[in-house]
């Protein structure tokens, strides 16, 4: 801890020096850089934003995997400070089969693509739903789970169709999720309340800030099973989607390895074992075959 502190302090002093230099000497360049950076955000990642190939990862001995740290039962941190959940169970297997240590990075729904495009993580395993728009930004491997959207609402006023909503009714969504994209595209008139973190959205919903909460159906089913007084009025909205690991666009070696890994894991029914170890408590045995995708199909 001490060493870290000193390291960060020197880091801080260095950047502070930079600020100082930018202010006294070349102040205008600092602001132009920023404009350039914002402009660049919308453009495809260029050659600077590298990724690590399979061999480079193996050589370094550590793989960086982005997972959720507050999304039980897919990716969360248990009481001993260890990462756990359906995604993490798979991540552990990836680490084992690659023969490398895993460095977990805590991600939010809104920054998963950024992490991959800048090469700051090698794989995102954070309940990442495959969509066309995202597939243009990152490369998805074979899927390992099924998902659709669902809408949960309080028992006292169950929302069974989005067409029944009043003009002032607001729906809670998490920024950067498929629910947000789907509703914005197909129901532009519905007012959305957007939250950055899962825990915030959940608290807001429980406090009655919105009439309903739209999210992946796994999420809303789990929520209604765990919390009394809530019903999933719309269990399946929009198209059936899949959840898959994602890598930086163009990282073919890692993508191919992941695809082979998922195919070969199918023969040992790995994801069913994963479900039974991590999701059974939340969804019960009824949903196992609906949710699990084995061997990528």
């Amino acid at each position: 801890m001490k060493k870290n502190f000193v390291k960060r302090l020197t880091g801080g002093l260095l950047v502070a020096g930079l600020v100082g230099a930018a202010l006294t000497g070349c102040g205008s360049s600092a602001s132009t850089n920023e404009v350039a950076a914002t402009g660049e955000d919308t453009v495809e990642a260029d050659s600077n934003a590298g990724f690590r190939t399979l061999d480079e990862i193996k050589e370094s001995g550590t793989i960086n995997i982005g997972v959720f740290s507050d999304k039980s039962p897919f990716g969360f941190v248990d009481e001993n400070g260890e990462y756990a959940g359906y995604d993490v169970y798979f991540a552990e297997r990836i680490g084992k089969d690659l023969g490398v240590e895993i460095n977990y990075v805590s991600t939010e729904a809104a920054n998963r693509i950024e992490y991959l495009q800048t090469g700051k993580v090698d794989i995102i395993l954070a309940n990442f739903t495959v969509t066309e728009e995202r597939a243009q930004e990152v490369d998805f491997a074979l899927p390992y789970m099924n998902v659709a959207l669902g809408v949960v609402s309080p028992d006292s006023a169950v929302v069974e169709s989005l067409d029944d909503l009043g003009a002032d009714d607001q729906i809670i969504v998490i920024s950067g999720t498929t629910a947000e994209t789907y509703l914005t595209k197909n129901y532009p008139d519905i007012k959305l309340q957007k939250y950055d973190a899962y825990a915030e959205a959940k608290t807001a919903f429980e406090n009655g800030n919105g009439v309903a909460w739209a999210n992946d159906n796994t999420e809303v089913i789990a929520f209604s099973l765990e919390n009394e007084g809530y019903t999933v009025g719309i269990p399946s909205l929009g198209d059936q989607d899949t959840i898959a690991p994602a890598v930086t666009k163009g990282n073919e070696t890692l993508l191919n390895w992941l695809n082979e890994e998922i195919e070969s894991l199918g023969s040992e029914n790995f994801f069913h074992a994963d479900y039974e170890a991590t999701l059974l408590d939340t969804y019960g045995a009824d949903y196992e075959d609906t949710l699990v995708l084995e061997g990528g199909k």
Binding site: G11, G12, G27, S72, F76
Partner: protein, 224 residues
Amino acid sequence: MASLGIDVLFKGTNFLRLLQGLWVSIEISLISVVLSILLGLLVGVLMTVNNKVLHAILKVYLETVRIMPQMVLLFIVYFGTTRVFGWDMSAETSAIFVFTFWGTAEMGDLVRGSIKSIPAIQFESAWALGMDKVQTYFYIILPQTVRRLIPLSINLITRMIKTTSLVMMIGIVEVLKVAQQIIEANRKTSPNAAFGVFLVVFLLYFIVCWPISRLATYLEKRWA
């Protein structure tokens, strides 16, 4: 108390993790605060210098900080620099950079305001006594400025400490993120944990910010 869900904090290493998260917040904010105060004093003095070019540059800097949400700055520095320049800055360094960048601008403006509020006669008297510019600032102006700055800067400092919760967006696990993790990991067994855990987080922030506020009151009285 069990209904508040505070008991989840005593499971496993949860409370220890919360404190470690708090330390991360304190570390980032204190380094940034110290740097912001030092650089802010310098920038504030520069802001009062009669030089059009310098004035314009500092104006652009201050306005940039005012307009840009800290979250955007964090994304630009952490992800943007990697994209554009290929720099791989650590999340902590990026956070300290952004908070220092922000704090320096606001601190500088507070220093500028405080210096401007010092009557011109103070400068004139110092020069009449034969002091040069540096001596005037060092012995006459800055001591008076610092006294006026205390209540103003305490607002900025406590705000910086609380805003560190944004660093979770660039993957740093600080106190609020740990709180969310604990709440989520226990959402089946203690659905009410959110209230209790956030209450504890509130107390932790209070414990950090209150002594700073007390120190300010003490210094204000002593230097008055």
